[in-house]
Amino acid sequence: MLRFRTDLPLDRDSTARFLPWIIGFMVYLAMIAATVALLVEHVTQRWQRDLSGQLTVELPAVAGEDEAARKQRVNEAVEEIIDTNGIIGTRLLDQAEVKRLLSPWLGAQADQLGVTLPDLVAVSLQPGVRPNLSELAERLQAASPGAAIDDHADFNAGAMNFLKTVEVLAVSLLALVLVATAGVVAFVARAGLSIHRRIVEVVHLVGAHDSYIARQFQAQAFRYGFMGAFIGTLLAAATLLSAGVFAARGAAPISAAVRAFEPWMIWPLALIPLAAVLIAMVTVRLAVLQALRRMAY
């Protein structure tokens, strides 16, 4: 497969024999890192979009207030919210839902604690329009004292920072893997040049340009790079499919990530093996040409 006629017996070099496996491993790591980066970026964008389109208004209970007064106060507050420019919808959460949301802090038996739960209003925002929240807060204070607006900014910022950190790490790993691939390939090319120094000398002396010799190393880099890319892609595909199977069985941390995978992501991932082959060829050419220039003949 992929055999080229070469004047240098590069296939016989023991240092080069492992190159397809090394490139394969690098391609595998790069594809996994790239998948993580793509998923995190995708999730981050979706999350940002979802959270930036919503906010929550908390209406604390007023001590000694009866049910009719409570309903009127809440209705007035909801009307104040709806009257605000940039708000397109509200939904008053029922008490059962509020209990469920607060259960992580108050426990399942929150109603037995004697704590009066606040009313919560989920507010939908018009995309691209930022309502004047400070003005809304003032009006809400009049309608329902102690009302608070939570635009999830703190949570949003913390979560985004975490996701961005993960994404930067994944992209850094991807870059590191590609640089390491170039380094290994350059090392193997220089070793090959050193092993075949005598033949290279003969080839030079019968009139070969440096580029003629570099092309022979490039052909080998293409062949080994292609084999490595194939191995790495196969392993990465197997890993991602396995993750899909685990996700289908309900492995929580994986399933969330796998659900975020979309078919378009295959295209940027498919560029990685191609990039590996290209990097191998370009690196070999540069390394060989540089080493040849240092030779006396």
Binding site: D7, E201, H204
Partner: protein, 250 residues
């Protein structure tokens, strides 16, 4: 053309010094001297395998000291070299070894497949086209090396002890091959320590010893150039080689 050329390896003493001579286009010279006298070093200077420590070397009308690296291949393609140790590429067949200069020069495969077997047949190896060098005898390897050196009809042919591993009959036959090439205009320099072989032909001799070179001409024994002689002492070279159609001096 060599003018006051010296050769030194590393920081060692000068192996050759004050070498001055000119090889006229189409000339035929023996480079004669005992083993270790510096014949191979002199040939290396000519085929651009070594830089002089001092002096000036001009090849095909160009000063080699000002050549750029990219100029070397073009110059070397005009020089055929038969190395003393053959330097055949072990994993290539006799056919591919001989075809190497042609492939490097970009000659079409169809032409290669026509010319290379023909030449290998001429040197008595038509049944060994696919043989690897390791399976050939020393003499056969030498003939492959010679075929590789002459396949592209070089302007200048350098041979380092080309008959060292063959019997007298084949040695003489190879010499006739070199003479044929010479008649077609190739400048030939044969390095040898075989005085018997040199004596059978009436070509000029560059005698090397004690780090210097002097020219002797069997056809004109009174004309002897010393090692310090002007560079034109060995030139022009009249005689049977004057039919050269190439204009450059080597």
């Amino acid at each position: 053309m060599f003018d006051g050329v010296a050769v030194r390896y590393g920081a060692g003493p000068e192996v050759l010094r004050g070498i001055s001579f000119t090889l006229a286009p189409g000339s035929f010279h023996f480079l004669v001297g005992p083993s270790g006298a510096g014949k191979s070093s002199l040939l290396k200077l000519i085929y651009l395998g070594l830089r002089p420590a001092a002096g000036r070397v001009e090849l095909f009308g160009r000063d080699v000291s000002v050549l750029r690296r990219s100029d070397y291949p073009g110059m070397r393609r005009r020089i055929g070299v038969v190395f003393q140790d053959f330097r055949l590429i072990e994993h290539l067949s006799a056919m591919d070894n001989v075809a190497l200069p042609l492939r490097i020069a970009g000659v079409r495969e169809s032409d290669i497949k026509r010319h290379v077997p023909e030449l290998l047949g001429w040197v008595g190896l038509k049944h060994h086209l696919d043989a690897l060098p390791a399976t050939l005898s020393g003499g056969q390897q030498q003939r492959v090396a010679i075929a590789r050196a002459v396949i592209s009809r070089p302007s200048l042919l350098l041979a380092d002890e080309p008959t060292g591993n063959v019997d007298d009959n084949i040695g003489v036959r190879l010499m006739y091959l070199f003479e044929e090439l010479n008649k077609m205009g190739t400048t030939v320099v044969i390095a040898t320590h075989n005085e018997g072989l040199v004596g059978r032909f009436s070509h000029r001799q560059l005698r090397i010893g004690n780090g210097t070179v002097r020219l002797t001409d069997p056809n004109a024994p009174n004309v002897i150039a010393s090692d310090a002689a002007p560079s034109d002492a060995a030139s022009p070279e009249p005689g049977p080689e004057s039919g050269d159609q190439r204009q450059e001096s080597a």
